[in-house]
Symmetry: C2
Subunit: 460 residues, 2 copies
């Protein structure tokens, strides 16, 4: 055991003593130190260790302890580690992971590496099973379901079921059993038993007389939107998941659907901030982080050049009224802000189901009125400043008018673009920003410079 006083003083930077033990090849000491940390400090320590040390550590833990550790890490981090391990070592850990989580991690790995790990699993059936599960998209019924559920044959009596549940109370307790399922000899779903009905019935009765026949179920391939809708319509705690043949393969809980909604919202936030290709953690290799961020920046620079080319077409106007150069970035940035607000509200309303992706008239009306109001206020504000600065009312009119018009335009666009993208099945959080910014930048530059050209004599 470590000296508790020492531990106390080390805990501020738990990765340091851990890293030292790993460097010194004190694998037992590293494992012991790790296990004394809280899950939170384990996560913190792993995020701070160099990649090589992380791998050395995990390789020298027992597969069961390593699996426990990976479960505590953010999914993206656990996937990183599995990919860096040898397929044999990764397979040993995957065998120890709870059902579902192994499939989640394998799904996010590169295909060749997933296959290499699956090939190393001792149990060929388990490998087939994981291959199938990791093939479902994470936010479908197949990706979100749990495979531990209580199912009984349609030959059972109520007494059989109660006896079995009582005998294995601990096992079934872990499952958070709310319903019990009834299947035929081939595992085809036949009915659902409510615990209440089980308790309030003579024990000799066959379950088929007590169960709900022809129960509501979802298909493994059902996508997130339809899952959200079905759990939204009725307040189900869980629903059985079946394959096309009717085979009962899992149960999906309301909680799993709610967690998936939260994950979608996290994705929206990261996408709207230009983090593409999944989440980035600073524990990832530098090259990968650069590449992922450039995947967003490189198209953006092209769009920016396209937008700024409008300025190049008006070099003469700008040359005569150089003050306009001060206002070009202001108009473009403020319009971007206004448009982004409309984007956020549209994405939120789509998520909550308060608007259908076809309702452009509603958006144009609701954002139009707001755009005119806020555009006028912001236009008067900026126009007044411009007019006072250069003591020229026309400059104020040009700058203020351009901002007012461009604000209206950008809230209309910002409100509608997410709906349009949703209709064409493109992620609105990912693509709305660049489309909006490019369009409103171009229009903003055009409006300022074109209005200025029109009254050039009064400005110069």
């Amino acid at each position: 055991m470590s000296d508790p006083e020492l531990l106390e003083s080390e805990v501020e930077r738990p990765w340091e003593p851990l890293g030292e033990r790993i460097e010194a090849s004190d694998h037992a000491g590293a494992a012991e130190f790790l296990e004394e940390l809280s899950p939170e400090d384990q996560r913190l320590a792993m995020a701070h260790l160099p990649g090589k040390s992380q791998i050395t550590l995990v390789e020298n833990l027992s597969p069961a302890i390593a699996a426990e550790l990976l479960e505590r890490l953010p999914e993206a981090h656990a996937v990183e580690i599995l990919e860096d391990l040898s397929p044999e070592a990764a397979a040993d850990i995957v065998e120890e992971l709870p059902e579902g989580i192994g499939a989640d991690l394998l799904r996010e790995m590169h295909t060749e590496e997933t296959e290499a790990v699956l090939a190393e699993l001792d149990d060929a059936d388990e490998a087939d099973h994981l291959r199938e599960r990791s093939g479902y998209e994470w936010d479908t019924a197949g990706g979100l379901m749990t495979e531990s559920f209580a199912a009984f044959s349609e030959d059972s009596t109520v007494g059989d079921v109660l006896h079995e549940l009582g005998e294995h109370a601990e096992l079934y307790g872990d499952m958070d059993v709310q319903y019990v399922y009834v299947t035929d000899g081939g595992g085809i779903l036949r009915g659902v038993l409510r615990l209440r009905d089980l308790v309030l019935t003579r024990r000799a009765r066959p379950v088929v007389e007590v169960m709900i026949v022809d129960p509501l179920s979802v298909s493994v391939s059902d996508d997130f939107d339809s899952l959200r809708k079905v759990f939204d319509d009725k307040n189900y705690i869980g629903l059985p998941v079946i394959e096309a043949s009717g085979l009962l393969v899992g149960v999906i809980t309301q909680q799993a659907v709610r967690e998936a909604t939260a994950d979608h919202q996290t994705e929206d936030y990261l996408h709207s901030s230009g983090i593409v290709g999944g989440e980035e953690l600073r524990s990832m290799p530098m090259f990968q982080r650069c590449r992922r961020r450039l995947a967003w920046l490189a198209p953006n620079i092209v769009l920016n050049i396209v937008a700024a080319s409008v300025i190049a077409m008006y070099e003469d106007t700008l040359q005569s009224v150089i003050a306009l150069a001060v206002f070009l970035p202001i108009v473009s940035d403020m319009s971007g802000c206004s448009g982004n607000q409309a984007v956020a509200v549209s994405i939120r309303e789509l998520t909550l189901g308060l608007i259908r992706p076809t309702e452009f008239v509603r958006i144009v009306w609701k954002e139009g009125v707001l755009g005119i109001c806020n555009g006028m206020i912001l236009g008067v504000l900026l126009g007044t400043i411009a007019a006072l600065w250069k003591d020229n009312v026309y400059l104020g009119l040009v700058v203020g008018g351009a901002l007012a018009l461009n604000t209206l335009l950008s809230v209309l666009l910002g409100g509608c673009v997410p709906l349009l993208l949703k209709k064409f099945k493109v992620d609105p959080a990912l693509a709305s920003g660049p489309i909006l910014t490019t369009a409103t930048d171009m229009c903003g530059f055009f409006l300022v410079l074109n209005l200025a050209s029109a009254v050039l004599a009064k400005l110069a």
Copy 2:
């Protein structure tokens, strides 16, 4: 009953037939139509009805049905409606709402209106109780706890508890009971009983012999960070919530904490997009929506003017090399994009507990290397385009060098600002964007124009 064929054709725009019935004062018809809609369509219809019609509808529903409807709406929308009702009508509905939800809604209402509703409640005790609960911040233990739990006196035997649970299985089933609590005569928490221990014990034993004595609990005023930490450390399903006196007042579940995490992330997304003061829905009054968005835009325009004032200081340089005006918005926008990526990663790492708010050295190192790499790539890209366009290598060096330097600067700032704000207890999602944009705009303008001034002879 409505004609089912008619209903089918109406469902595309459910708010229209609903609105017609309300306008025609056919309150019974409106209520009947509403009840035939799915919860999803109810929400959609309410979001589309004019505010006045919504109020008329709710006023003419029975309080129980109205409470059910409000429960299905987004919280912000339900609060809007309660505020527009008379205090008497609102009080009737609040009485029908499940415990906790009433407090959530009252907390979000304006203080005077909350008080007016509380004054109208028939039961003074319930009013006091709701006043207390709505006083807790939503994301503290007091705000997130449920008050329905199973508690038994320390005089009870195991048999008493099992009998009581069996007699009222339905009631306790709704509570999702995982533990049973033991209190003294005054309601002070004494112990926790695991259901497993209850079942595996002689029924005559006193519960005090079976219970976990001195159990872990949280205080009503514990804030979200400490709740997340305690549920993170150990995988508790639920924990008792006590007042300072030790009085057991509620239970907080792991699920409630997980949902609060999701709500925090939604808030982050809305804040980072410039939606302040809670969420905006387009069903809210126009004036309120304008005002909330302006609360974000008005300070932003000031910051934009401050940033652009750098350009004004270099009017002469710009006058001689008007081509620079094309590149100013590109440099400023691209740096903003790079910085926002770093902001998103920092906020995410803070949320996941992968970084402490004091670790600036780590950020500077991790973002610095990345910033040099991505800055060089983007700088060469933009510099080449600038050089080719005007056939002037110096223009390329100025523009590319400014972008490279400013990219480095903005990822460093973007990475550090959320940590700094977190340290000073300011919401990073709300304030990071404007601080970052203003700083990188100013630096970007300064770098382009200052580098250009230095080699002006070669550019003009």
